[in-house]
Structures are given as C-alpha cells and as structure tokens.
Symmetry: C2
DNA sequence: TAGTGGTCTAGACCACATT
DNA sequence: ATGTGGTCTAGACCACTAA
C-alpha cells in the first residue's frame, strides 16, 4: 500500500494498547523508514511535505520533524525547490591509515586541494592545543578534500611558524601553502593522534562543503608529532550526511561487502 | 549586558547592510554562543525558553531551533522539568588503540558491562557484513560502556557461532556471554578495522544510554579479523553529545591541554 | 502546585529551481 | 508561474521535576 492514506492513529496501535505513547514524529520516522526500504530506491523523490503530512494526518511541522531525523541518519537528502530524495548509502572515506609516509603524502596531494593559506597570531583556543603562547605566529592552510568530484571535507591545518624556520617569508599565499606543506613533510612526522566528534558547519566551511550553515559534520582533529614535539594540528570537518570515516591498517582488514553498511537499527 | 532585552533585529546589522539575510535562528545561535562563552560557566542554567524567546523577540519555536543547534554541538544539555544547562566539554573516549592484546582485554573487561547475550539467525544486513548466509546462527552480546559511572556507549558484538566450535550450547544467557567473549579472545585477533558515522539511537540503545529515542550517536563499526578471516563485528553507539572519540597509539601522542578541545568554530 | 522542556497544530511568507 | 523545501509565528497541551 506504500505511502497510503493511513492516518498515524491507524498505525500506532499494532497491539491493543498504545502503551508508552511514542511521539508521532518518531512513529512517523519508523513508518517512512520501512516504506523507503521496501518501496523506494536511491535517488527517488518522495511525495512533497504538504502531501505527506496530509496523508498521515499530521501537521507539516510534525512531518518535518520525522524527516529531520531521517536526514540526520543520512537516509534522506532534501533539496530546496526540488524535493526530498532517498539518499545513497554513505561513502567510506579513509582517514589517516597506517600507510607509509611516502604513499600517504602522494595520496594527500591527490585528494586535497589547497584553498588558501594565511599567517597570523594564534587565537587563545588554538594556542592551547598547539602548546604556544597566545598571539604566536601560526601558518594556516585551508584545504578541501574531494572524492570523485564532490567535496566531502574542509580542513584547517595549523603549523606554528617557529616549527618551520626555513620558510621564506616573502612568498605569497599560493606558494606559501606549498612551502608549508613541503617543509612539514620534511620534518618527518613520527606519529598522529586523532579524535572524532560531532559538530556543525559554520558559514565558511559550509560554503566549501556546498551545504547550508548548521550542517552536521564529523570533526576530526589530528595532532602531528615530529621529534617528540607537537608539530601541527589539523581540524577537518567531514560532511556527516554522506561520509562514513574509515580507520585501519590498509589491507590488513577483511573486506566483506563494505558497500552495504550495517546500521545499528538494522542489526538490533 | 548579557542576555539582554535586545531584539534580534537590533543585533543583525553590525554594518549598515543586513547583507545575506542570515536566518534568525542561526544568528540567535551565534549570540547565545558568544554569551555562553563569556558570561556563563559549565552547569549553569540558562533562562527558560519562554523567557529567552521573549527577550529576543522571536517565537519559542525559533529559539528552540537555535538551542537544537547548540545541543547538537554538545554545548547545551536540556532536561525536561529542570531547564537548559551549559554543558561540560566533551570527554575524550579511547576507542580501540594500538594497545597490546592483554592490556586491551583487561581494559575492556573493566569498562564494558554485559547486558545480555542471545543467539539466533542473522538478519540479511548482518549476514552480509559477516560474510554469512542469511539465517546462519550468530551470537550477539550486548554490552554497555561506562566511564566514571555514566553510560557513554552501547554495543552489539556479533560472532558467528561457526567461529566458536567449542562453545557449550547448554549454558544460559549470563554465562554464555562470558563464554563467547572468552572464546573470541582465545581465537586471537589479528587486526581491527573501524568506521565511524553519524546515527540516531533507537529505543533499545536510547534506554541503555539514558537518553530519548532519536538522540544523535556516533556509530563505530569494528571488524575483528582472526587468522585472515572476519571473526566478529561490533556495532557501538556512542553518545554524540558527551563523547569525543580518540584514536591513536597509546602514549606516542603528544598530549597538550587535551581537556579544552578546539572546535572548528573557535579556530576559524 | 508551579515551572520546565517536549510535542503538536494551522497557518503564513520566503528562497530557490523548474517549466 | 508553479511547486518545492526553509523559516517563522502564536498559540495549545502534555510529561516531567521540584518544592
């Protein structure tokens, strides 16, 4: 019957008791999820919001609350002026593996594209994480990571200028970025330490990622150590809607049908 | 002046032109963020929503949209019947490092608490990721990870029963969990491969995490390899509001003031 | 009992993309 | 011009916590 004309009340009491009084939007999400899995395929557009809210007998705001959840799970993509589409499964994005230094560098050069490079005093927060005094000069390289043409992450790489004594100061923005990256590579990175947390994209990153401000992102903070000291910090924001970050020793892992992810929901 | 009686219109045009027409809720988020950073401290309760919406001259729904963003960023905690509190910085949670097998096992035993253990046929999705046929028997151990008394993650560890031939079938739930974990340890895990993505907690996990359904979580999927074959898959859901997942070689990393995280916003 | 956040409604208007 | 999702309003009632 698909997205039928059922009202929410009709589907809420599978048994005789409504029991715990599940919120409407949550129940709606479940119904939509089941419908999408069984009767829709990737890229297909759902009926519009006014239509859906009418069919389920709820206000549009309530329906939107359900769609918000599904979008957060990466199951939906909403495009203004177009409609609501069933999303493709998330792409697995390798994040810093255990590749050898050379391979990693070549890899990075391929996938990351420098946006700009600035040098200025460290903010208080940045100074803390880099172990500097507030106001110390820091090079910041902004880069964009694209996979098959689509932007998946924006990164700010912060390097204390004190760590790169051989960098000519006179070079301009475009060349300076290359200089910073080259010198950092020459330092020889001993180890990397990463953290992942949830965040939202500010205006600047959002623009680079071609998403509206407030878009949920996975914030990956990487600390690069060289010669026992913290040489650089990179803050990368990955689009949470389309990205699944993958870690692991390259090749050592057993790859079995990684294309179809097991969601926590599907398993339980 | 703090959370003054300013209306949103009064703070929108710092220059002469409102320019890009930023949504009210987004601007509101920025104002609240600045206010929290400068005039509030961890654990402090903000004025209630009706009060705040009146002060800023917006509808309560609009204010709530701004609070939703801040909550997603882990800056706010909202408690029904209590109020809205300024959240503590996220806790760094070590996720599978490069500790030696013995240390890791001891560590796991300490922090993870078994909830229950079931055995049954694999769902289609699970069978795919484990490389089994649909319906093959799989042991599932549900565990809860707590840090200093608070639940931070719920996990489902799936092990094909074919991989544990020496497991007595007669043992009941509580003992079976121990048996599965012990046998898995004996197998000797060669490597681990992980992925991290954004998800929402279903009813079951939400209850374990002491959060309402729909709570955003970081879903960590770990594939355990033994003797070149995929021996087990663990799906762990970490509370995104309070957790920052940390990866890395234990001790190798340079630890500088990790207590105060650098948000993407603060740096840029 | 009073106060809080959570849910829900029925509208309105706007920004954007297509035709 | 039309149709889409995005924003915003002004209310209402509910569920929970505390005094």
């Amino acid at each position: 019957m698909g997205l039928s004309s059922l009202r929410v009340e009709d589907t809420v009491g599978q048994g005789t008791l409504a029991a715990v009084a599940e919120p409407k939007y949550w129940h709606l999400r479940t119904v939509l999820l089941r419908t999408m899995d069984t009767e829709f395929s990737t890229g297909q557009v759902l009926p519009n919001e006014r239509e859906l809210s009418a069919r389920f007998g709820v206000a549009r705001a309530t329906l939107r609350q359900a769609l918000d959840q599904l979008e957060l799970e990466g199951r939906l993509v909403r495009r203004r002026g177009i409609g609501t589409l069933v999303a493709a499964p998330r792409v697995g994005i390798p994040v810093g593996g255990r590749q050898s230094g050379r391979a990693a560098a070549a890899h990075a050069a391929q996938e990351w594209k420098v946006v700009d490079c600035t040098t200025g005093p460290a903010t208080a927060a940045l100074a803390r994480t880099l172990g500097l005094a507030e106001g110390d000069q820091v090079h910041t390289v902004r880069r964009l990571r694209t996979v098959q043409g689509v932007a998946v992450a924006a990164e700010s790489l912060h390097v204390p200028s004190a760590a790169l004594p051989h960098l000519a100061v006179v070079v301009d923005g475009g060349d300076r970025a290359r200089g910073v990256l080259r010198q950092l590579e020459r330092l020889g990175v001993d180890g990397e330490s990463r953290s992942v947390e949830l965040g939202v994209a500010e205006a600047a990153e959002a623009a680079l990622l071609e998403r509206p401000p407030g878009t949920p992102v996975l914030v990956v903070t990487t600390q690069y150590a060289a010669a026992g000291r913290l040489a650089a910090v990179a803050v990368s924001t990955y689009r949470a809607d389309t990205c699944k970050l993958t870690f692991g020793e390259s090749g050592a892992a057993v790859q079995v049908a990684s294309a179809v992810p097991v969601s926590a929901a599907a398993v339980s």
